[in-house]
Amino acid sequence: MAIVVYLETEDGNFKKSALEVSSYGRKLADETKTNLYGIAFNSSDPDKIRKYGIDKLVNIKTDHVFDARIFADLLSKNFKELGGTIFITGSSADSRFIFPVVSILLDASYATNVVDFPSGISPLVLKRSAFTNKGFVFTELKTKYKIIGILNNSYGIFESERKLEVKEYMAESQDSNLQVESIKEDEEKISIADAEIVVSGGRGLKGPENWDLVEDLAKTLGAATACSKPVSDMGWRPHSEHVGQTGKPVASNLYIAIGVSGAIQHLAGINASKCKVVINNDPEAPFFKAADYGVIGDAFEVVPKLIDGLKKFKSR
């Protein structure tokens, strides 16, 4: 028996979510008195994970196109070879692409959107966000193999240095009938999924020409930028920035909404964020009922002052 974590990399580096997943795995391994193993693809510096509680890392080198079937196959085989019983992964778009496939290959039960450490280990019971962040459900996983998909920013990162053993190998090539071409939106930009802070703009900003406000505030905070549905529908901003029920989900530590009224679909999509701030000149905007902090005022006056204040705060 062992706990196995899937450690996602990006350009060879472990993603922040990989550190969170291994921290979670370490605690579960300690509580169940077992080892914690990691599996990664193409890590260029495997030793970086030593601090986060991994006893042994299998680093798979592969130049395959991103075919979910092939990656799921490699993960499943290595999980079994490591003697895994519980497989832990994050909630990135890629994880959520691969792991439904893994769950069938392993005949494993799978809980997504897990927001907390298991409320019971035997049987394994997990608290999951459900109803698009309007409630929680506690799910028991009943099969021999189990998969836990944890939501980003829901557990935290904790250091626990181990004697890390690294095994590296080159994956055999497998047939794929897929051609895959990756298009990165903007190398500089922080993705909404990985961001700790998200700054979002709504119709109250009056037009795409005013988005400097959102972008400057985001830059000052090291945040990702997002927008409400009407803004993306009107073509002011790309669809990839739309957050809400039918857009991208947000689970950041801080969410700042500027000129967003707060339609129920929008609030549902961002409700997993821990701290919500609204800046809006309409005190009747529904967002004021959902937020932790609010400023009733003209965004065009408030936001530049906020940016100035934050710059001073950062240089303190």
């Binding site: 962040n133 009938n177 529908d233 801080l254 003209d298």
Partner: protein, 248 residues
């Protein structure tokens, strides 16, 4: 070409989420059920394929009799036939297995499901079906073109997009982008009349064992009152975010 659209019946977004029986059951009373929004984008895309490429569109749902109204709605929107696997599903694995069994030995080239349902948000069913029927699979699918044997699709990733092409059969987890909100079809009277004559076939469920159990539900913790900051004293907000919320 035959297309199968998988549909989940979910509580309308504006529904109050309550739990009963000592927080062990979802309270269905007063809840309006709708076609899962991500599935509806997929259904609309399928209708366009029907119109332009002469495809036949079937819809399927796993659920008990109260799922019928949303299947009738899908027929009114323009689907040709509906199927319902007659069981109250307990988890994604069960739904995927029932639908995969239904698909076997039928000639569906394209299977469209939503990225995730807005009730349990699992996002697992399309990937599971693809694996069970050995088809190609694209999740978070925001654009899709197909011909008789090939597809071109776009998957939204966390930091951009991926253009994926390959051979049919294909299963997608669809979302907004396949079509836009303004493209969604509101059934007209003729569609509604026609839907009553279209076949809705009930299929006996095969899988009675589940991989997971729902232990209980929990409501969101009550939210504290909002703290308003004077726009003239915006540094107070920075102070609160730093010292109280500890997020900057």
């Amino acid at each position: 070409m035959k297309i199968l659209v998988c549909i989940s019946s979910v509580p309308d977004t504006t529904s109050k989420i309550n739990f009963i029986e000592n927080e062990t059951q979802f309270d269905k009373s007063g809840v309006q059920y709708i076609i899962n929004p991500n599935d509806e984008f997929g259904l609309t895309r399928a209708m366009w394929l029907k119109e332009k490429q002469n495809c036949e569109v079937h819809v399927i749902s796993v659920g008990i009799v109260d799922t019928d109204p949303i299947l009738r709605k899908a027929l009114a929107i323009g689907a040709d036939q509906a199927f319902r696997v007659d069981i109250n599903p307990m988890d994604a694995n069960q739904v995927a297995r029932e639908i995969s069994d239904f698909i076997k030995n039928k000639d569906y080239k394209l299977i469209i499901a939503g990225r995730e349902s807005i009730d349990y948000n699992g996002g697992m069913v399309p990937g599971m079906i693809a694996t069970l029927i050995n088809a190609n699979y694209v999740s978070n699918c925001v654009s899709l073109e197909v011909n008789q044997s090939n597809f071109k699709a776009t998957r939204e990733t966390d930091g951009g997009k991926e253009n994926i092409s390959g051979t049919l059969p294909l299963v997608i987890g669809g979302q907004k982008g396949l079509v836009e909100e303004k493209d969604l079809i509101i059934p007209n009277m003729r569609g509604i009349m026609m839907s009553r004559k279209k076949p809705l076939t009930i299929i006996e469920a095969k899988y009675q064992t589940f991989q997971t159990d729902t232990v209980k539900y929990e409501k969101l913790p009550p939210k504290g009152a909002i703290k308003l900051v004077n726009p003239e004293k915006i540094n107070d907000l920075i102070d609160l975010l730093h010292n109280e919320a500890k997020v900057i």
